[in-house]
Amino acid sequence: MHVRRLGALIVTALVAAAVSGPAATRAADAPEIVIGSVLPLTGALAQTGAGLRTAQQLAADLVNGHVSYPLPMVGKTGLPHLGHARIRLVFADSQGKPDQARAAAEQLITQEHAVALIGTYASSTTATASQVAERAGIPFLNPDSSAPGLTARGLKWFFRTTPHDGTFAENFYQFLGDLKKSKNIAVKRVAVVGEDGLFGTGAGDAEEAGAKKYGYDVATRVSYPATTTEVNAEVQRVKTSSPDVIFQASYVPDALLFMRGYKQQGVNVKAIFAQDAGFVDPNFLKAIGADAEGVFTREVFSMDIKYRNQAVPLIDQLFRQRSDGAKPLDGNTARDFMGVLVLADAIDRAGSTKPDAIRDALMKTNIPGKLTLMPWSRIHFDATGQNDGGAGIIEQLQDGKYETVWPFDVAVRPVVWPMPAWKH
């Protein structure tokens, strides 16, 4: 307790120094480099957007500050190759709507003269905003959208650091493969369950494709309206298809409905593989209690992986202080934080604010995994602009807390397999 509080104090002092101090005095003469950020600041995704904005701003402040962490570009008081120019983030609201995201991107490019764009969380808004950047010839860095198709469009100016649904699905199958080797488990039939929006459809498609590739049978594919109030039919469909494992993409209310339905109907499977979202929401965990014990989820980030970057808890502390709900750093915010650093790194190496130079620098980006907050091997873009070092981790709910169980080399707990059967 005391140690933690002391740590927080030190962190606070460091941040105070990082954010004020020399940076403030230099602001007048050093040039500013504008990075435009499109985020859902209003509308249904506003809460998420607010968190992402905080994370991005934190990253920018750390780049402009002088306190060093084992992270790229942090603590160099701006961009050294550009005369310690400070980066300034300008935010524009997408409202979570494709047309608004487009308008926001245009505003950032034409009015704010952003040298690069970052954003936009929702895959549909990323699609339109990145098209604007493509047309204008401005680099677009997407740290947080998971639709696989985004990097299959042949865009020249689009770069994505996060792994996408395809990777997440592959991770599950790789995990199953690893388990087969180490534990000799038998899994043949998978049920693919998800809400019928972009999230559930994208995840489900990737999981179905993965099943084909890795030789599993799709026992059933269940797609349901996200706002449904009962899942009787859905649960029966899963039950009668008798799967070995269930892939599940749900928000909180529907995740609760399904878990209770599975329990009532005695749907005993070896594992439920959740796609993050509802299943990791603290309110879901509170409401479902011990009944979710043993559920697996894919994650892009964890506070607890082995060999993690020493900066993780520090950045987490800083982030908590800045977010009014005192929320911890999570997969979304960590990815957006890293996104700003990747852009800053590229602009600095470009030594110029010319779009072509920044794009060339982005294409040469190669940040080792240990210098990120993420469980990735590196950040390096392939020909499509997709980070080829990205990977997810798999966590399992053990004793009420999600613990990293895969990849085995970074796992903090052993896998419990199969999930405990329902007790009645």
Binding site: A44, A46, Q47, D196, V222, S223, Y224, P225, T227, T228, T229, E230, N232, A233, E234, Q236, R237, K239, T240, V252, P253, L256, R260, K263, Q264, Q265, G266, D281, N283, F284, K286, A287, G325, H424
Partner: protein, 293 residues
Amino acid sequence: MADAGVEALTTFEQLLAGGLLAGLVFALVAVGLTLVYGVMDVVNFAHGEFLMLAMYATLGLALVGIGPLVGLPLVAIALFLFGVVIYRVFIRRLLAGPPEATVFGTFGLLVLLQGLAQSLFTGDFQSVPHPPFQGTLRLGAVALSQATLVEGIGALVLTGALFAFVEYTETGRAMRAVAEDRVAATLMGIDVQRVNALAFGIGAACVGAAGALLMLSFPVFPTAGASFALTAFVVVALGGFGSIQGALVAALLVGMLEVLGGYYLAPELKMVPVYVAYLAIVLLRPQGLLGRR
């Protein structure tokens, strides 16, 4: 082979039971809406948001140690007062305007209440801590959620009570008179504004009771009511606007259609039979299943 047959039958029984229970939950939400429509010819598009407020109220009571079932009457009373106030300051004005005013006024109320919930309670999904009735009831091969069962019983009690109230009490008779003919009711010396306010309040109280019961099995969030409201509108129209027993029958039908359609057709198409039934009924029998005239 015989096993497969038995299994299919069990599945069907389970779906049937699940559909009936789902229907009762819809009835629980729809019954208050029916009364308001029947008496004053208003579809309250903010009905779902009343439900959402009731759920938050139940949550609030639960956080100070009053469980959903004990809290139910308190929530119902609170919603009754809320309904009367909303009628007196707002709905009454809408009724004086053109017909579309009630549609848009109550819709504005929907947006306003959702916004208020968002700013006061955040968008988080919140549940009552340690709600009762979390077990499963088994009848042979059929397994049912106890919480949903309690909600279903609540729906039957509420529907019965409301029916008895409207049929057998003096105030209920006044409400029916207003529903039949507002002008004639005025001539008979009935204070139409008072009856309307009362009906709106009682409708809200029903929603209050529904909200308290729903917290047994659902989390609350700013758009929680909207998920139920659309089904409730269909149920009320299907049963015949204003018919209390019609709403119950329609709700059971909707529950069955949704569940059986979801299983035998496709889960993503589970609302299709519901909407098709609605369209078919309003076209072939515009007064609804049990509506008069």
